[in-house]
């Protein structure tokens, strides 16, 4: 049956309408955040969809030393978590993916089990550990805590990826005189680029956005990370809630994530799907 011209057009309109709804649904909150951040003073309480393009909220938030400090803390925490968890996960993945030893699958299951605990269940136990390690109220406590949810995921993804790298390449490297460390560093790491980028990015996003641990383990302003800092932004009086400043801060905080995601978008998909299908 040949579909008529109007039928085809209707079909196309339906598809675009659906696209439109999905786009609106996902992007409207961002738009509202950005639009609000560009309004000043009382204008924020008027429901207008076009932004005013006033930048005083940004001026205010960027001249706020506490906020800038928390931005820096967040960057330090997120990058440290990414670097440490990738380093440890690559080592674990090499062992779990390439070396035959007793108890390999129980370890894999344990790693998976760890990642299934809800954060809140870990909170009090982790708090004790952090006190005991003397990390309370330092950003070290957050780096330590975030590894709990970034590591299992990274280990799983990288292990699957590592397992699927051809055995003969490893053997060729052995014949070429490489130590296991050199094999991982010079042969496997470059071959695992996409997987490293996607797992690293997800670890970055997870630690960048984390709120509960950051609220619990940090006491003072100068050690806070951005999500908590934004939540604690207060107005000039207790009767004023500074929506504008909060929206501006939120926008600033979103930017690095969007930049990273755009930069690496090609690799994210190939990294996450790698290992799903045997090549």
């Amino acid at each position: 049956m040949v579909r008529s011209n109007t039928g085809r057009r209707l079909h196309r309109i339906a598809i675009y309408a659906l696209f439109g709804i999905v786009a609106l649904y996902t992007l409207f909150p961002f738009y509202w955040m950005i639009a609000s951040s560009l309004k000043s003073g009382q204008a924020i309480f008027d429901v207008t969809f076009l932004p005013d393009l006033k930048f005083n909220n940004y001026q205010a938030i960027l001249s706020d030393g506490v906020f800038l400090r928390s931005l820096l803390n967040s960057l330090i925490v997120a990058f440290s978590v990414v670097a440490l968890s990738l380093l440890l996960a690559v080592g674990a993945a090499y062992a779990l993916g390439r070396i035959d030893f007793r108890g390999r699958s129980p370890i894999m299951l344990l790693v998976l089990a760890v990642s299934m605990f809800p954060q809140i269940a870990l909170l009090s136990g982790l708090f004790e550990m952090i006190r005991w390690l003397g990390l309370y109220n330092t950003i070290g406590s957050l780096i330590f805590a975030y590894m709990i949810f970034t590591l299992p995921f990274n280990i799983w993804v990288l292990t699957t990826f590592m397992r699927d790298l051809p055995k003969q390449i490893e053997e060729a490297a052995i014949m070429d005189g490489c130590s296991p460390l050199r094999i991982v560093r010079c042969i496997f790491l470059p071959m695992m680029g996409p997987a490293l980028i996607s797992t690293g990015l997800l670890a970055f996003i997870a630690s960048w956005n984390e709120f509960m641990f950051a609220l619990t383990f940090i006491l003072t302003d100068e050690n806070r990370t951005v999500p908590v800092a934004i939540a604690l932004i207060s107005g000039s009086s207790r009767y004023e809630f500074p929506y504008g400043a909060i929206m501006a801060a939120s926008t600033i905080v979103t930017v690095p994530l969007i930049v990273l995601a755009l930069l690496f978008q090609k690799h994210i998909v190939s990294g996450l799907t790698a290992g799903a299908v045997k090549g």
Partner: protein, 357 residues
């Protein structure tokens, strides 16, 4: 100083024995081919020499020194893999130089040696490319180059040509023969292709179920196979086998095959035998023993033709005939052979030989 000696070498995987007490020595500069069907242990044996598989029992010597515990890189070995196993993220040049880089040679010397090998293998124009940008044959050349650049005295090849198409396989076979002729390095080469074994080897080792079935020069194996397995494995098309009966007759023997019989020298054996005749030794309308047959199919190969014939008892034979025989399917013919060209195998599949006449 690069001969290999295997003494009672055993490889077990759990309860499974895949290599069972293999004894073999390879002389310096020799080209030895391990051949056999899949699962016969040929690759495992090669990997044990390389050090990629542990040796469960027995001793491996290279250049007169025990090597069982020596790590692969220190055995003085270079190896070429079936899948080429090139490092995908490195240029050809770096692939070639990687082992030297690992050995911390000076950059100048690496460049020099890589250039020399590239010239030798005619891959100079490919140095800047990545493996993914090369054809199968070019990748194979690079893989060989990576082995050559370390200038080892012992080369191991693990089915290096299996992934190539027929044309390239021939070209690379010639190339590997040239490399061996020029470098004179001891070479152990694994293949399941008897043609590669016949054309490349100084000596062929035929393996079956983890045992050495026979060791010898290609012509020895072709002319005097020690058992039915080697006889059927070496030579293409495969040797024909017919059932016959051998009996002692006066001072000699008598062979009965179907309705035909012929006197032979004394084999000192009585009973059922397998009579093996190569397609090229079968004669249409001639021979000492002749059997009536009907033509099933003629496959012309140009200069020669393969005639598939069926005997009275339903067994089929393949005859390699010169030229283009004018035969129609179902035509009646006689197929025969000279008894001197036939191989006799006893009940245990071992070759029978005449008792010194």
């Amino acid at each position: 100083m690069s001969g290999i000696a295997l003494t009672n070498v055993v490889k077990r995987f759990g309860a499974l024995t895949v290599i069972d007490k293999v004894n073999l020595s390879v002389a310096e500069g020799e080209f030895v081919v391990f051949v056999g069907p899949s699962g016969c242990g040929k690759s495992t044996l090669l990997r044990m020499i390389a050090g990629l598989e542990e040796i469960s029992d027995g001793e491996l010597q290279i250049g007169g020194e025990r090597m069982n515990e020596t790590p692969p890189a220190r055995r003085g070995i270079a190896m070429v893999f079936q899948s080429y196993a090139l490092y995908p993220h490195m240029s050809v040049e770096r692939n070639l130089g990687f082992a030297l880089e690992t050995a911390r040679l000076a950059a100048g010397e690496i460049t020099e040696r890589v250039a020399k090998v590239a010239r030798f293998l005619k891959i100079e124009h490919l140095l800047a490319r990545r493996p993914a940008q090369l054809s199968g044959g070019q990748q194979q050349r690079v893989a060989i180059g990576r082995a050559l650049v370390r200038s080892q005295k012992l080369f191991l090849f693990d089915e290096p040509l299996s992934n190539l198409d027929a044309d390239l396989r021939m070209e690379m076979r010639v190339e590997i023969a040239r490399i061996h002729r020029e470098l004179k390095a001891t070479t152990v080469y694994v293949t399941h292709d008897q043609l590669e074994a016949m054309t490349l080897a100084d000596r062929i080792v035929v393996l079956k179920d983890g045992h050495i079935s026979q060791v010898g020069t290609p012509m020895e194996l072709y002319e005097h196979p020690a058992n039915k397995f080697v006889a059927s494995f070496i030579g293409a098309p495969r040797m024909n086998f017919l059932t016959g009966k051998l009996a002692i007759d006066g001072s000699g023997s008598r062979l009965d095959v179907l309705d035909a019989r012929h006197g032979l020298e004394n084999f000192g054996y009585e009973g059922e035998v397998s009579v093996g005749i190569r397609p090229e030794d079968l004669i249409l309308g001639g021979g000492d023993i002749r059997l009536p047959a009907s033509v099933q199919l003629v496959e012309p190969l140009g200069g020669e033709a393969l005639v598939h014939a069926r005997l009275g008892n339903g067994q089929s034979l393949v005859v390699k005939a010169q030229g283009k025989p004018d035969l129609k399917p179902n035509a009646d013919i006689t197929v025969g052979w000279l008894t001197s060209k036939a191989h006799l195998f006893g009940a245990d599949d071992r070759a029978l030989s005449a008792k010194g006449a």
